[in-house]
């Protein structure tokens, strides 16, 4: 099958690769660009483990063809930390014990990041809605909800 070129900005860096036509963004990120932070859980859109941001919008990388992303800005959980300094959401997930096996965590964090960028002071219902496309089999969700609320509070305290 013909290879096609894909070129986009991944977490601030220009990236270009040849992939087989029909390759999903998830496969391109993981297999070609060494960004294994988005996980492949179901490849059906149902689990949210592969959630990334494309041009500032939350998307499922398993249902996105890589070649439709040419010229786009892609963000994944791998790009959230600032060097050694964790992103407030990453720190809150650690503090609130919101990750057990951790498989859902990158998707949860991207969904939460999209929420906090739009709405820095969410209530519990906003958080539940924001992560409603993400499945967690370990935590029972409550620690994740608390972590997102904690990160929002930490952000508003540091902004004050």
């Amino acid at each position: 099958m013909a290879k096609i070129s894909v070129q986009f900005t991944l977490n601030g860096s220009e990236r270009a690769e040849f992939v087989e036509s029909g390759t999903t963004l998830l496969a391109a990120l993981r297999d070609k660009m060494d960004d294994t932070s988005p996980k492949g859980g179901c490849h059906q859109g149902a689990c949210g483990a592969c959630t990334v941001m494309i041009d500032g919008e939350l998307r499922l990388s398993c249902l996105t063809l890589a070649e439709t992303c040419n010229g786009a800005q892609i963000r994944t959980t791998a790009g959230l930390a600032n060097g050694e300094v964790l992103h407030p959401l990453q720190r809150a997930f650690e503090d609130a014990f919101a990750a057990q096996c951790g498989f859902c965590t990158p998707g949860m964090i991207m969904a939460a990041a999209a929420l906090l960028e739009r709405n820095p002071n969410p209530d519990r219902a906003d958080v539940v809605e924001a992560i409603s496309g993400n499945v967690c089999r370990c935590t029972g969700y409550e620690p994740i909800i608390q972590a997102v609320l904690l990160a929002a509070r930490a952000n508003s305290t540091s902004a004050a």
Partner: protein, 266 residues
């Protein structure tokens, strides 16, 4: 087998490309790419268009036009479409809503197609590239025989009057889950009785259907428990709910009058 993707800047070029055997149109891709991942061998070429006309929403006194590539999130963000917000919000989680298009929803099999149920109760018309408009109800019946080259460009309808439009999706998994059933109704009343009713049902067949018998049974009667009783019985006429992982056909049939009654009295 590999898949090739063809992107066209106009809907008419995309429509022409769909005439080739093995081609499948892609809107947001939530169902098409899922099929690719599952190894669907029925198509080898994916066709899409970036035509800006398909991403436009127009609201005027003359009516509402929603382009086929408009996503559920775009509907939610539009201040003139607030009556459709509950239907748009009913489709998947936030990431799915950023991808799922109005055009793709018209083709989604039960238990999907929630937004289409709302459009059916609004008596929407479907515009097809190169072949004009047709009523959504007829489109849904004929969509499988229209062929792969039938490219939907937009849906149009008259906005409902304030408070006449109602929408309900019942699911088991909260806050998001596929539908046990979906109901949309546009009910107009004068002097305490119903003068016009359009009721659409999701998950009562393999695609959205109108509950014509229930509509007839409602007109001329008050919207009270007694007034709507004949409509609740009539709603069961002609339905053939699917059995799937969400609910059995029996269960869907049993709960339809309950939820329809609640929606009509709300």
């Amino acid at each position: 087998m590999g898949i090739s993707l063809q992107t066209f800047s106009t809907a008419s070029e995309a429509q022409a490309a769909l005439g080739v055997s093995g081609a499948r149109y892609m809107g947001g891709g939530t169902l098409v790419v899922r099929a690719v991942n599952e190894g669907d061998l029925l198509f080898s070429t994916i066709v899409r268009t970036t035509d800006p006309a398909l991403s436009a929403i127009g609201t005027s006194d003359a009516g509402v036009r929603i382009g086929a590539s408009v996503t559920m999130s775009m509907v939610l963000a539009h201040p003139g479409l607030s009556y459709l917000a509950p239907a748009a919000r009913a489709v998947g989680g936030p990431a799915v809503r950023n991808m799922a298009t109005v055009g793709g929803n018209l083709f989604a099999p039960a238990p999907y197609g929630d937004f289409t149920v709302a459009l059916l109760a609004l008596d929407a018309k479907v515009s097809i590239s190169g072949s004009g408009e047709m009523a959504l109800e007829a489109f849904l019946q004929e969509r499988d025989s229209l062929g792969a080259s039938a490219l939907v460009t937009s849906v149009t309808f008259a906005a409902p009057t304030p408070d006449s439009f109602r929408f309900l999706k019942v699911s088991r998994v909260h806050p998001k889950g596929a539908a046990v059933l979906t109901i949309a109704a546009d009910i107009r009343e004068e002097a305490g009785s119903v003068v016009q009713a359009r009721i659409a049902l999701g998950c009562m067949a393999d695609r959205a259907i109108r509950a014509h018998a229930a509509e007839v049974a409602l007109v001329g009667r008050p919207r009270t428990k007694e007034g709507i009783a004949p409509a609740l019985t009539a709603a069961l006429e002609g339905i053939a709910p699917p059995t799937d992982a969400i609910a059995s056909a029996w269960y869907r049939r049993e709960v339809l009058p309950v939820h329809l009654g609640r929606l009509l009295l709300s």
